[in-house]
Amino acid sequence: MNKPHDVGGSDNLEPIDQRDHAISDWELHIDAIRQVLGNNGIINTDELRRTIESIRPDDYRNLLYYERWSIAIRTLLLEKAILSQPEIDLAIAQIEGMLDA
């Protein structure tokens, strides 16, 4: 079974860009949220791996590292009924409203 992350030994892949790059504020936020959820026993590393590995391969390849984390965290919080999709939709709409104000 092909998993998007499991590319060791695959042919025809672009070389990895190993240059350092700046970390954005939103990436730090995602990292912090993951740590808080982990430290409070709400999600664990293997759950995060499972949900990242379950992202559709076409999506996975086009997502940034922390975008994958954020999708995985959302999936887990929905699974565990800590957040609901309407709550997430409402929060997004509120933020969009702030940006458009």
């Binding site: 079974m1 092909n2 998993k3 499991d6 060791g8 030994g9 664990n44 293997d46 759950e47 791996r49 499972r50 590995e53 379950s54 699974e79 565990k80």
Partner: protein, 97 residues
């Protein structure tokens, strides 16, 4: 003996092929179907493939350090024949070779 390891140091083992398509798959594809040698018995650890679903990870699974010949894994490997790759592999991923 309870919790005894099936494999012992020096045993030749084959990594089984993953035929299921869900969940957290612990063992990478490039090592599946390859034959290696048990180098060390690490002991019992929570099963990460169970923990990945919010479960207990119990019963714990025996974990081994397994060595593989680099030249048997990578095509066109140009290093010496004695080069080895070591990977930690859980018992349920292994069978006698």
């Amino acid at each position: 003996m309870l919790n005894a390891s099936i494999f012992r140091v020096g045993d030749r083992v084959r990594v089984v092929q993953c035929i299921w398509g869900f969940g957290h798959v612990r063992t990478p594809k490039y090592i599946q179907n390859h034959v290696g040698e048990i180098r060390r018995v690490h002991g019992l650890y929570h099963n990460p493939e169970s923990v990945a679903h919010g479960r207990s990870g119990l019963p714990a699974k025996m974990l081994y350090s397994v060595s593989f010949q680099q030249s048997s894994i990578w095509k066109d490997y140009s290093g010496p024949e004695i080069d080895l790759l070591y990977m930690d592999v859980f018992e349920h991923w292994l069978e006698f070779a």
